[in-house]
């Protein structure tokens, strides 16, 4: 297991329908090695196989499948990434409340443990499925593919994927989403884009949440935007507060624009 953040075997995940909480699928292999020593042999019949193959090619291949599925069904799929506690679930709850009467919405929730977020989403009125990654620190395309066999995703709908709260690892894993949305909150430092550049570089929209707390914290919004743009000049920004609803209409307008793509 990764000592930095607990990242482990990506095959070791569970998918839970909040209505049927006892599913345990996915058999998985473990590796329990302890410092296997490496050495080379000499042998008369050696040959070189040139591959030049992206190590994430398997994930990218599965992400491509997911993307084709979304395109065929005209599903707007968005991957929400952030550090823990930035307010992704609250943003989704508010969004579902506001848009469920006019849009079909479903949610895939990713957390290491618990069904808490999927239950919150279900209460707001959208179907959801929970992926528990166990020791894993990100969702991957295979997990999304498995979740899609259990979650009913309708034609012409919006699918939100709420990734595991982590600004590092999810950056590398394409899930097949149309766009990636990174959420930061004003209770975090404005230097987050500089500290976690890969996430900001791979995102399309940055939501700055908890704007109602701006008078009480030292967060410098302009600086945060400037830092993020120095990593990714194409990044769009929306400043809002999911709690007070201030600025949420900008997010809904952005979603509307993506739906008309």
């Amino acid at each position: 297991m990764c000592e930095t953040c607990g990242c482990g075997d990506s095959d070791q995940f569970e998918i839970h329908d909040p209505h049927h909480t006892h599913s345990h699928d996915q058999s998985h292999a473990h590796f329990h090695a302890h410092g296997g020593k490496m050495h080379s042999h000499s042998h008369p019949h050696k040959k070189v196989i040139n591959l030049n193959m992206d190590i994430l090619s398997e994930n990218n291949h599965l992400a491509h499948f997911n993307r084709s599925f979304f395109e065929e069904k005209k599903v707007l799929c968005l991957n929400l990434v952030s550090s823990p506690g930035s307010g992704k679930t609250t943003i989704l709850e508010k969004t579902i409340h506001a848009l469920i009467s006019t849009n079909k919405i479903a949610v895939i929730e990713g957390d290491q443990q618990t069904l808490l977020d999927a239950e919150r989403i279900e209460k707001s009125g959208a179907p959801s499925i929970q992926i528990n990654t166990g020791s894993g620190c990100h969702l991957d395309a295979k997990m999304i593919g498995s979740a899609l066999t259990k979650l009913k995703v309708e034609q012409n709908s919006i699918l939100f994927i709420e990734n595991v709260g982590n600004l590092v690892c999810p950056a590398m894993f394409d899930l097949g989403e149309y766009k990636r949305v990174v959420v930061i909150s004003v209770t975090e430092g404005e230097d987050k884009p500089l500290k976690y550049p890969y996430m900001f570089q791979s995102s399309h929209l940055c939501i700055i949440n908890k704007a109602d707390l701006l008078p009480y914290v030292d967060f410098n919004t302009e600086k945060a935007i400037e830092y993020a743009r120095s990593i990714n000049p194409e990044l769009e920004f929306i400043i809002l507060s999911a709690r007070s609803s201030e600025g949420m209409e900008l997010w809904y307008a952005w979603l509307e624009k993506q739906l008309k793509r």
Binding site: L51, N52, G136
Partner: protein, 113 residues
């Protein structure tokens, strides 16, 4: 970080290629890790070293090739070595720069028997 998951991807990829090419032994695997790939090369190498036991890569020499980050300045067209993602142009100080190297993370080749 995700280096353990990535090391597993490498083992799976090596296993698939070995089966495809009908070989039982991989004596060396050459892996390119770009400095701007988001992969910590040392952590990745340690993770791979821990996970190879009882796999096709158990006795393979693991050869990791680091590729430096390269940037291109849109303002003055300078090509320069980029050590981190938020690097301004060393000549005119403009940024952002376009990354055009160092994001590679791939298996280059296998030496098989």
């Amino acid at each position: 970080m995700h280096e353990f998951s990535l090391a597993e991807e490498v083992i799976n990829l090596a296993q698939r290629e070995a089966e495809k090419n009908n070989v039982n032994t991989i004596s060396e695997i050459q892996i390119e890790v770009g400095d701007l790939s988001g992969v910590e090369a040392e952590a990745f190498e340690s993770a791979l070293g821990l996970l190879v036991k009882d796999t096709i890569l158990n006795n393979s020499k693991i050869n990791i090739i680091r590729t430096p980050g390269k940037g291109h300045c849109n303002a003055c067209n300078l090509e320069f070595e980029m050590h981190h993602m938020q690097a301004s142009c060393p000549h005119c100080r403009a940024f952002p720069s376009i990354i055009n190297g160092g994001q590679e993370f791939r298996v280059l080749s296998l030496l098989v028997e």
